[in-house]
Subunit: 592 residues, 2 copies
């Protein structure tokens, strides 16, 4: 079906619904960062394959807003269609509203899919359009009758996290929820966020690729606990035994309405993660309290069992990465491998490791100029052949029994150019500066972000992405609420938080460099000025020493690198082959 | 009159007004950081002499909220009174509201002085108390009839800034205001902020000590421009000639009401700087737009004439400081000077300099343990005698014809202790790191703040104040909107902004160290990653080289210090005596 045909069918549905405009955000009903294929509505209707954007359709026009990462790509993908592309700095409801206000007449109606529209967004559309005489109405998913072959709801098995890796029982966590509800004066708490539900219930699934999530809603009352999810068998029995009612996922809105009519009361929920498909069922009689999901900040601070699992996962992943890099150095020949087949090879190394489940995201292998495309993804048959010297960014990770990994190494094929060595060293200096900085409790990510950038800044260079994101425990590789970036996120780094440390540098059309380790924060001491924190590395893998210029490093920086390399060798030596260990010994010898 | 007597008289006034509670914020009608003595109401009623806090009085209770800087001081000053002290982290309306909600009964009325209450605060009181059945009413200043000997309204002369130092005429600036009003769809713009009015009209006064402000309101219409201020004589003639109507300061509310009844329309104002005494006159019929004063961001970016004036002022101030430090080193003997008399001495050195008008703030001379009290102020007869070795913080500044200065040097009497040298060097490393960092446009102060702290953090140390504040041109020594501090202020540093760079370290009961220069930002170039900015120093004065440990400095850091010292010597040598120049030559020789 071509683009115009899809638009024609959607417009027919819009007419049948009596709406003159319709927004397609591509959000899933849980407002997840990554969604199951079923909810890739924006991709299906527009043909744009990027991970972020907003689309809107009226009777006569269709528009897509995308951020700078996707200006080029969206331009190519939308060429020749009747979609109007708006390359903007940040796609948001406000831009869609301005456009709709021009396209629609007073008296017209905008339809918003209740499941794609968060309670917060719904307010914004109403406040932006209603005063101009444009009506707003919640609808079902209008693509349902249009999209032939739409993927069904995923229903993968849900499993329990082994007790050794949770450090906290479901009951203990749910008691904590109830205490917080008491403090807030809430009778009900609605949780829609999938990683929060998985963490809270010590359960994992596979409904969203890479992310170990399962589709679910949780309704916590003062006495009752209701999980709407496709949980079956022994796990379901266990939940019932713990007095957690289980209803089918699709029954969530109806069951919520029922619960609130039986026991009306004050409802606590996060308006950014709760869709109107759920929030719309709360009813006028029940007062609401809107607040960020309490579980988000709890799950960010990993306890010692969770950190232990993360360390085990990183030991396995470090062994896989090291074995891969050793193999690569010995086996690589010009013209034999491309980006995609190397990705498969790394996957094979990971698959052999104990506890490996699957990759934690779609890996990035970017050779030469492809390394400069921050969200590059090589496709089978469309991947660059490694046919000459150059740098390659390898950003990948795994889901293991005990934890989640995410690592980037920049690999050198052939001989290095001086500018590549200089840039790699500058990036590495920022990477180790952030990792080795002692900092007081209360420090937020945007204060630390500068540490990873300052050496590049000194050279008039800059990178356009954040330095670090939170990482889930056996969960999403991107996890809030902490962010080490220039974004104004008022969340301090706390002991137990796991963050990535991944500065980079990118030259369009030439090459990219990025170095990423995961770190966790721990208490460091108090020297009379309040408690301080420090980072500990989780990732275990050597840097590319042929790209390090020791003359640009201070004695302290060399000591940092040597100490990290010593740690890598000591941790991995017994978990890799003798040949690999010999190679690693050489790669981790002191920087001169 | 003692504290209880004052409270008795205020309560009688409250009864006469029919209010059961009354808030005393100590704000002036312009919500200035520094106020004329007339508006030191919080100080008069409570006896607490600190610069920040909120007081509230009911029929039977009286309470004061102060921040950590003042916990100790307020405790001493309120001892033995019937005031209840709440030492909190941040005094705010929310704390006052919680307390009032406990103290007052439904049906009671809280009175807020319309002139002390900003439009923003008034909303907060109403939203916090009315739902609990507590009424809120705007009143006049109830202390007026109670406070015997209350200082009158200041009425100092208003003078014009020489054209050479403005770089932009009044007419050009007012045209810019009108363009912005057009963009915003505003028919009227109300400006209450005193430094914004002074900057916008190229006028200066002396109504608030140190700050070169004059009491005024400005009402800008599409056609009319009305200044309510005590402007007289030639300056008034000039304004009238430029079609700026001048009415007495006291007539402001009446004139505003009149203007809006003659020409109703949309009114633009900043709810944080506009008191209800003014905002309350806008009337229901006129739509309002609340937005930060447009002038605040304009005046922060100094043009080349303003920067030229700042540089001239810093040349004079640097010469005065250098002469003072040279004199101090030669003339100081144990037991002959105290903190206060040294302050007088520095004032004498400044007074001799060309263009000096008066000090830009009450100087801080803190010897030994007094240096650890961040807001210490020595009083005549109660100042520490310099009777033995030790460090002294000297934080002072001047108002000159062309600009405003603010400088801190830490001075050593006698021999240095190793820990003092180590701490001074760590503070200096942060100070020069911030000053020498190249950074991309768009970088905000909180991202740069870390640069000044990271060396102290590495040693487990921290300071409890911001690193840098904006500085006015021939105006307030503290100026918004930029702030180099951990505060989440979403204002990027832009070319032309002047900021202080003043890290420090403080050991309670022992000593304090602070080093402060003023810097201005300028465009540095674009190396393919967007435009970058760099800092240039304004302050010209040597560091205390006896407190520098060269072994803790990198080669780059030594080069930074040497280059700054060379600049200081070259700029000042011709503006000081031969003896002072010889001394300065020695003080600015390369760090070994």
């Amino acid at each position: 079906m071509n683009s115009d045909e899809k638009l024609r069918l959607l417009r027919a549905q819009m007419q049948a619904e009596g709406v003159d405009g319709y927004v397609v955000t591509g959000a899933d009903p849980h407002h997840s960062e990554y969604t199951a294929a079923r909810w890739e509505t924006r991709r299906w209707i527009t043909g744009f394959t990027g991970s972020a954007g907003i689309a809107a359709v009226t009777r006569s026009a269709a528009a897509l807003w995308v951020d700078p990462r996707y200006h080029l790509q969206a331009g190519k993908e939308l060429a020749g269609t009747s979609w109007t592309l708006f390359p903007v700095s940040l796609p948001g409801e406000n831009l869609v509203i301005s456009w709709l206000a021009e396209q629609l007449e007073p008296g017209d109606t905008l339809g918003c899919n209740a499941w794609e529209t968060s309670a917060a967004s719904w307010e914004i559309y109403r406040e932006g359009l209603n005063p101009r005489g444009i009506r707003t109405r919640l609808t079902g998913d209008l693509l349902d009758l249009v999209w032939q072959g739409r993927p069904p709801l995923p229903r993968e098995p849900v499993t329990e996290v082994p007790a050794a890796y949770t450090g906290c029982t479901r009951t203990e966590k749910l008691d904590r929820v109830r205490s917080r509800m008491d403090e807030a004066g809430a009778d009900w708490f609605i949780l829609s966020s999938l990683d929060d539900i998985a963490w809270l219930l010590n359960l994992r699934g596979n409904d969203v690729p890479y992310n170990r999530l399962f589709l679910a809603y949780l309704f916590a009352g003062r006495e009752r606990m209701v999980l709407a999810a496709g949980v079956k068998g022994a796990v379901k029995e266990l939940l019932l035994h713990e007095e957690i009612e289980v209803v089918p996922y699709e029954d969530a809105p109806g069951r919520l309405e029922q619960l609130l009519s039986e026991e009306p009361g004050t409802v606590l929920f996060d308006e950014r993660t709760t869709s109107m498909g759920i929030a719309g069922r709360i009813g006028e009689k029940n007062p609401v309290i809107k607040a960020a999901d309490m579980t988000a900040s709890w799950k960010a601070k990993k306890n010692s069992a969770e950190l232990q699992g993360m360390q085990e996962a990183h030991l396995q992943d470090g062994a896989a990465m090291t074995a891969f890099l050793c193999w690569l150095e010995h086996s690589w020949k010009e013209g034999t491998w491309d980006e995609w087949s190397l990705g498969q090879k790394l996957f094979e190394f990971r698959r052999e490791r104990e506890g490996f489940i699957h990759e934690s995201f779609s890996p990035i292998f970017g050779f030469r100029e492809n390394g400069a495309v921050v969200h590059y993804s090589a496709k089978q048959g469309h991947a660059a052949l490694i046919d000459r010297r150059g740098l390659m960014i390898i950003d990948s990770g795994g889901q293991y029994l005990g934890g989640t990994t995410d690592i980037t190494r920049t690999v050198l094929f052939g001989d290095a150019k001086p500018e590549e060595i200089r840039d790699y060293t500058l990036v590495l200096k920022g990477h180790i500066k952030l990792a080795s900085q002692l900092f007081p409790e209360g420090t937020r990510g945007m204060q630390l972000d500068t540490l990873a950038r300052m050496f590049l800044w000194d050279a008039g260079k800059q990178y356009g992405h954040g330095t670090g994101h939170g990482v889930g425990h056996m969960l999403c590789v991107h996890e809030g609420p902490v962010s080490i970036s220039p974004k104004l996120v008022d969340v301090p780094v706390e002991a137990g938080m796991v963050c990535s440390d991944e500065p980079g540098i990118y030259y369009e059309g030439k090459y990219g460099i990025r170095i990423e380790n995961l770190l966790y924060a721990e208490g460091a001491g108090d020297w009379g000025f309040g408690p301080f924190l420090r980072w500990q590395p989780l990732t275990l893998c050597p840097y590319e020493r042929r790209l390090i210029d020791p003359s640009l490093l201070s004695g302290e920086e060399k000591a940092c690198i040597d100490s990290y390399h010593r740690r890598v060798y000591e941790a991995l030596a017994d978990h890799i082959t003798k040949e690999e260990a010999r190679w690693l010994k050489e790669k981790t010898r002191p920087v001169q």
